[in-house]
């Protein structure tokens, strides 16, 4: 019987341990969501861009290289907005700061909310793209028939890999139903941290050195 008692204790211990592992793994699955975001931002996986503003790094402009930056805007069902960009592509030097205007137009007569979700290709360029100001950091609100122009200010890092010479930035507009807060849990936190930007999207541009604006030409 001694053996059986021992087995009983052993079983209890095993069960406790396995249940602990179980709970841990369930938590791990959810922890993977933010971990994945961090991983994406560190490695540039999937062209997922950091959703917060970064500051300019003053580094020497590499005049020997021209990088072709393309802009693509896309609408989506359910949001009667149009999004356009002042130029389809521009050439910039790594290290140089560039600015390009995006225009949002609400075609309907009622107020609505939307968000432009960014994606970058090739994904390896993602970590070398610093967005100083972007409409994609937060939701946008447009009154009926309103038209809004917001600039994207960005800088390509000097250490951009040599084999990259074209970068494509794609923005897809998605509707936001404001009855239900349609944002991932961690995103609500993120956007509240950026609330100042929401109020004044152009605010932090005032000290932008204009002379450094890219020799961007509409092509």
């Amino acid at each position: 019987m001694d053996d059986q008692e021992q087995a009983k204790v052993g079983v209890r211990r095993t069960v406790i341990r396995t249940v602990a592992v179980l709970v841990g793994m369930f938590g791990f699955a959810f922890a993977l969501v933010p971990l994945y975001d961090v991983f994406c931002q560190v490695t540039g996986l999937n062209g997922k861009v950091d959703a917060t503003a970064q500051s300019i790094v003053h580094e020497e402009v590499d005049e020997s290289r021209y990088i072709n930056v393309q802009f693509i805007t896309r609408g989506s069902p359910g949001l009667p907005w149009q999004m356009s960009v002042e130029m389809r592509q521009m050439s910039v030097h790594p290290g140089q700061m560039a600015e390009v205007d995006f225009t949002f137009t609400n075609n309907s007569s009622s107020e609505s909310w939307g968000r432009a979700v960014p994606s970058v290709s090739p994904s390896t360029a993602t970590t070398h793209l610093r967005k100083i100001s972007c409409f994609c950091f937060q939701e946008q609100q447009l009154q009926g028939n309103e038209r809004l122009t917001i600039p994207l200010v960005f800088q390509l890092a000097r250490d951009l890999p040599d084999d990259i010479n074209t970068i494509t930035l794609v923005y897809t507009l998605y509707p936001i139903e404001h009855v239900v807060q349609n944002a991932a849990l961690d995103n609500t936190l993120k956007s509240s941290a950026n609330s100042e930007l929401v109020n004044d999207p152009k605010g932090n541009l005032s000290n932008t050195p204009k002379n450094n604006k890219a020799a961007g030409e509409a092509i």
Partner: protein, 371 residues
Amino acid sequence: MRSRWWWLMAISLAASESQAQSNGWNMPVGVTDVSSDIYGLHMTIFWICVVIGVVVFGAMFYSLFRYRHSKGAKAAHFHEHTSVEVLWTAIPVLILVGMAVPATATLKNMYDSSEADLDVMITGQQWRWRYEYLGEDVAFTSNMSTPRTQISGEEARGEHYLLEVDEPLVLPINRKVRFLMTSDDVIHSWWVPDLAVKQDTIPGFINENWVKINEPGIYRGQCAELCGIDHGFMPVVVHAVEEEEFESWLAERKESAEQEAMGVDREWEMAELVERGESVYQSICSSCHQAEGQGSPPAFPALANNEQLISDVDWHLDKVINGVSGAAMPAFRSTLNPVEIAAVVTYTRNAWGNDTGDVVQPSEVAEIIAQ
């Protein structure tokens, strides 16, 4: 290394024909350098597997035959031999390393994102492809053109059954074409075996791939990722042409786009719109809302005898132009032109007993879109 020797090795091993198109039961060699590299890898690993298989199964069947109990075989009693085990671990590792080297080279080549001569944006939509020649103002949607009557068997099936479209993607040969791929709804996958391009299109995200076609021809493929009901009816057709032919095609497309735009301003007859609308309906709408507008509720509402649709033109136009958020109905504001939208709305409002008599003019649609 342009990896010709892999190709040659595979060919000599396979002793198969080197024609570009699939011979019907093997992977096609294809018409790009990448596709022939991949074919080479495929045949190499295949023959490696065959050789290993012959050795292993040979040893196995020899043992099965030689050491039959019924023939009085007496079992030996050895049960381990470390040096043999080390050997049969080491040999596969070496084979795998030998395989990994060319595979890595090919993969790096496929990821080479150096400057392209032409950028094409490919957008997957349930269940069609949209192609946009970036910077050229040419964009169109490519729908399967196989009639539903062939699918149901009422009509004999054509040679390219399910692999034919109304407007193929036209590409120049000998030029590096970069594809930017995304989706409007669910994940699709754009695949043409002869080009060895298969890439998922993911809503909200952009993927990149490229191709440089060596030979003119018509290359066919399909959507490769389950994307809903009509996943099987979402073919890709690429028409690869000489460079000059491509240039003139592009110019022609631009011109016809302008002409179509002019059609917006004139007054259209109802019969004209209904006729145009029916063809748009059958190629775009009928996959969900069905040929007779009966729909497939609850996912796809009926259009025939739909009270709300009959009573409210503005509502109807809004749904077609802006889509329905959170449902399968896409926004057609940028995929169809005003003429097509006006035509399909007019048709829907006057077909299958929806006898509203309404005529929607392209100019009205254009106005709504431009507002």
